[in-house]
Symmetry: C2
Subunit: 415 residues, 2 copies
Amino acid sequence: MGDLQQLAKRARAAAAKLGTLTTETKDAALLAMADGLERESSAVLAANTKDMEEARGQGVTGALLDRLSLTEGRVKEMADGLREVAALRDPVGEVVDGWRLPNGLQVEKVRVPLGVVGIIYEARPNVTVDAAGLCLKSGNAVVLRGSSSAINSNAALVKILSEAASTAGLPGGCVQLVEDTERETARELMKLHGLIDVLIPRGGEGLIRTVVENSTVPVIETGVGNCHLYVDESADEAMALDILVNAKTQRPGVCNAVETLLVHREVASSFLPEAAGALGEKGVQIRADAEARALMPGSLEAVEEDWRTEFLDLVIAVKVVAGIDEAIEHINEFGSGHSDAIVTDDYGRAGRFTAEVDSAAVYVNASTRFTDGGQFGMGAEIGISTQKLHARGPMSLPELTTVKFVIHGSGQIRP
Amino acid sequence: MGDLQQLAKRARAAAAKLGTLTTETKDAALLAMADGLERESSAVLAANTKDMEEARGQGVTGALLDRLSLTEGRVKEMADGLREVAALRDPVGEVVDGWRLPNGLQVEKVRVPLGVVGIIYEARPNVTVDAAGLCLKSGNAVVLRGSSSAINSNAALVKILSEAASTAGLPGGCVQLVEDTERETARELMKLHGLIDVLIPRGGEGLIRTVVENSTVPVIETGVGNCHLYVDESADEAMALDILVNAKTQRPGVCNAVETLLVHREVASSFLPEAAGALGEKGVQIRADAEARALMPGSLEAVEEDWRTEFLDLVIAVKVVAGIDEAIEHINEFGSGHSDAIVTDDYGRAGRFTAEVDSAAVYVNASTRFTDGGQFGMGAEIGISTQKLHARGPMSLPELTTVKFVIHGSGQIRP
């Protein structure tokens, strides 16, 4: 039996015990893990320095290097994140539905942990701690498979987390890191159907595609966000401008930022010059279709590929449309089903947009930047699902559970 | 573009329209489909005769041939099934959760159709009609891929269903059959990620495994049921005997029938001889471990494989266990996570069994044969999920939907 299979079997054994622990025990462990991280932050930072040196040696710079970097402050943030998770409501044991059958059988649908959750993710070491906290709180064992560039940081973090968890009474094997970062090992992990209950990839489009194409374990797809803002003919243009600038520039590198602006022809001549000015001030590059270009000084010509692209940067694609039909059609064809918004004062069109745009989150008169477990008041999030099965939109603790039917009888048999 | 891709794109276009139809329109279409089946039953029966002749020519007999066979009565049952689905509550539009954020944003989580549902199934032609009815009622387009042995029956059924649906105002392409029954085509269907939203295989273990291993479309696994009955030391033995006979023999060929009996050592000497007699009367073959064999006249020796086998027949495996720990361990190791029951009068052990057995349905003092959408009062079912993601246990209309976040604002932007 391979090392990875043994690791997964340890996780399964741990999961069987985790599912029956009280919330008090799990919360105490999360707090102990938080304290452990702060107490041993120097070990974490030393491991991170190694990763940073290797990355620099390989010519990594800029945002990528920044995502890998840990500081005393970032370790503190991770610890505080665990404390926040401890304060959230435990989803396990919630009776989500229940009824009595005519024959007297009492049927209940009860929330239980998924079992073993696998996370495959890219450079950010904070995912290690966030994912471990959310999985344990919801009663799941977690198998973490980070990237080779963060291997020293991740190993140091998991060592601290699993020691603290053990000391606090959680079963051994509840948090494990796959230390072999060969590509082959990740593929082997994706084939552990029956040992791992769900795989959640967190990272870029390439990673997510690889997992979807190779996994026999059920997958929850997360994150790719090609989001749209449609400015309707009846829009309050000042509101539309505020929302546009916020959704594009408040934090352009994230999945819920807007990537394409669609504007109704009737308001294009008044709105687009204003938009060009406001976006220009923020340093946004504009890639527009012919009609919009004529109204947006300094804009470039958009090509078909721009409609499909999640820029994750200060770049926006702009298109003039004939009306809400064309807007909805464009979004459903080119979007990624993440978050899309309309600005309108028209009752009927607001209703059509929310009904017909096939995305996880649809907004009327608000910025797409709110699609986030924390912003929605759901607590910390493990990711944002852009698929339709199991969970859609921000996923927090309840999305890390399944249900079980519990049936109490007094000897009923089927006639 | 391949034929299959074109078919899937037609389904997607139909799904976009189906999602916005009223319940009245969908129900009228279901009733029209039911009437159509009855009116044109002779065409269905003629097509079925062709399938039956070919099957007989290939040497098919017995239960397999019976599953393929249609009669006037069976066509009527299919039509009545559609009428029952029309009478069920429409899940689309249900607001499953909602709240107001501190900034005034109104967040709602609303049930919407999955989109395009693919069903890959074996010989029974009634699945064609059942699946079409449930998918349309829940606002989904459906792509059906039955087996080659039922191709004439399925084609006749789908022709009637889709004509009736069109006439009643449903979009063309809402019910389609993949008429090419080559194995390669099924595999191509499993790769239509982005066009098909979910695949549900219905059939034997081999079919389900093939779909899980080859699909990039999310899959809901259904059906394999290696179910257990554990008779605890505190059991009411008369009740245990009734439940055993019911769960094993009332209909042995289905997934919620019991396949393994576990008996506490303390009651083995009184219970097992009675069980041997009662099962013997029903013609059940007993495969027992050494300890049970000594107490069950006429029983055969069980081998390891018997613990893993879904017999789907008048065969049962029997094992004596030391107590509830060994029973739970056995079930979680060898079971398929479908339905398992304990017979006990002990409060603590009833609680441990329901908490620790990791199955879709866990019973105290009742037959496992109740795991069924109809029996549970959920209405017709599309299958019984034995996986943990999205749905677990019997799946009816709500399980054929997903949710969407709808957010109404008045200009909110993220600070």
